[in-house]
């Protein structure tokens, strides 16, 4: 076999391959443009499988190949996250459950447990840039940690199952798994220890506190253990509240147009459009007040029940709206009807918001629903009646 170690200028435009051993049977590519750079990830491709864009390589272990997750989010991630926040393709936004790696983990590196909702994964991987760790992803059907813990998919059973499936005892020498604090609702640390041999260490609530938690000797202080609900955390939930209201609101709008046309001449299309538009505007103001303004002002409205917060915010917003656009009221009777309508809608949307807050108890929500749903229904019926009456 002819072994030649020499500089070969393959393309004739500066590419060199010093140290390449040319064997007789190896063809030399002398094309005019040179070799195309090969995709390093192409080596991991398998027929019928697609490589996920957030994987940057694989770690070879005695047990298996472990995918290495990128810790930077790209534009595609940000766009997809934004769409999911608006409710688009929310349930498809998942990651395959199993064992992943971040950085350069060894048999001594910690294991961070998480849910397979991609938004959760993105929060986590962004926060652990620079850390070497294993990431154990549980199958929570694309739901985030806290909700899944409540629903039973982020649980003792799923954690134990995933520990066994990933053969974690062969991957690491220690016997610890770090579980997000909010997984505690579904995970019994004592049961996990008994069934898997792994001790559960509860990590911080927020992924962003993980580096500090690591530096703190894996002790979560009070601030790391407490859930917050800042203005941006409150408002990020508004798009999906609005998206949920969209279809019912459109149906309501159609009904409103028909009801608005009722008048002295039995039915008038001109009235249906003109009055209907104003009434639909009142609907929009009410929904916006309950789904955006009430959450924004949540800690500042000095009552406890969300339905009542919605009434106060709705009344205020509607009044402000009429003040800025007096023509919207059309007539006194009409104005009263629309004010009542917007206030009631705001109350409904605000009451709905209890389902997405981290400090409301189901017992409390049940109590306020029992009191305020009848009030909301009566207000809606009354405002509809006054609105139709106002046309005569």
């Amino acid at each position: 076999m002819d072994k030649q170690n020499k500089k070969i200028d393959l393309a004739g435009n500066g590419f060199s391959t010093t140290g390449v051993q040319l064997m007789e049977s190896m063809p030399v590519n002398q094309g005019a443009c040179g070799e195309l750079p090969s995709d390093p990830m192409a080596a991991y491709e398998k027929p019928g499988y697609k490589l996920m864009h957030y994987i940057e390589g694989f770690i070879e272990t005695d047990v298996c190949l472990v995918p290495l997750i990128k810790t930077d989010l790209d534009r595609g991630d940000h766009i997809a996250n934004g769409l999911v926040r608006c409710g688009i393709s929310r349930y498809k936004y998942r990651v395959v459950p199993g064992l992943y790696a971040v950085g350069k983990p060894t048999r001594e590196s910690e294991v961070l447990v998480t849910a397979n909702f991609k938004l959760t994964i993105d929060h986590l991987r962004k926060a652990i840039s620079g850390i070497d760790a294993w990431v154990l992803v549980l199958d929570t059907k694309g739901i985030n940690v806290w909700c899944a813990a409540g629903k039973g998919t982020f649980s003792t059973a799923t954690l134990v199952r995933q520990i066994k499936e990933a053969q974690l005892d062969r991957m690491v020498d220690h016997r610890r798994v770090i579980v997000p604090q909010l997984g505690a609702t579904g995970v019994s640390a004592t049961a996990v220890k008994k069934e898997s041999g792994f001790k559960v260490v509860y990590g911080p609530v927020r992924a962003t506190d993980i580096p500090a938690f690591f530096n703190n000797g894996f002790v979560a202080d009070r601030q790391m253990r407490t859930v917050t609900f800042t203005l941006s955390e409150r408002l990020i939930l508004s798009p999906i509240e609005l998206q949920t209201a969209l279809k019912p609101a459109l149906i309501a709008a159609v009904i409103i147009f028909f009801l608005s046309g009722i008048g002295p001449g039995v039915f008038s299309i001109t009235n249906a459009w003109a009055r209907g538009a104003t009434a639909v505007l009142a609907l929009a103001v009410g929904i916006f007040s309950g789904a955006v303004i009430t959450p924004a002002l949540l800690p500042f409205i000095p009552v406890k029940e969300f339905a009542l917060k919605g009434i106060i915010a709705g009344f205020g917003t509607a009044l402000l709206f009429i003040f800025i656009f007096p023509a919207a009221a059309i007539s006194l009777k009409g104005g009263i009807a629309l004010l009542l309508f917007a206030t009631a809608m705001s109350s409904v949307m605000a009451m709905n918001y209890t389902g997405t807050t981290p400090f409301t108890s189901p017992s409390g929500v049940e109590k306020e629903m029992k009191r305020y749903i009848p009030i909301q229904l009566i207000s809606l019926v009354l405002s509809t009646g006054i609105w139709i009456y106002a046309a005569f």
């Binding site: 409540g150 609702t185 253990r225 400090f359």
Partner: protein, 72 residues
């Protein structure tokens, strides 16, 4: 969360001090700082802050806590 208070006197949280073994895990897992340790046993420090998530109940090794958790 100190600034966020919800409806009072509705929580279904119950603590049975006789069963408490003083491990303190309830104080670690509660996201609202409801529980605290007093004289080496758990005590409810802030009943109205309880959101009935059930983390304390799930993790109590001696079954000293009860709550009827919501749907999640």
């Amino acid at each position: 969360m100190d600034t966020f208070r919800y409806i009072e006197n509705v929580s279904s949280l119950i603590l049975n001090p006789e069963k408490c073994i003083g491990c303190g895990i309830c104080t670690h897992v509660c996201p609202q700082n409801v529980m605290e340790m007093q004289d080496r046993k758990a005590a409810i420090a802030d009943f109205d802050a309880c959101m009935e998530c059930g983390a304390c109940v799930t993790n109590c090794p001696s079954g000293a806590l009860e709550v009827s958790p919501g749907v999640g």
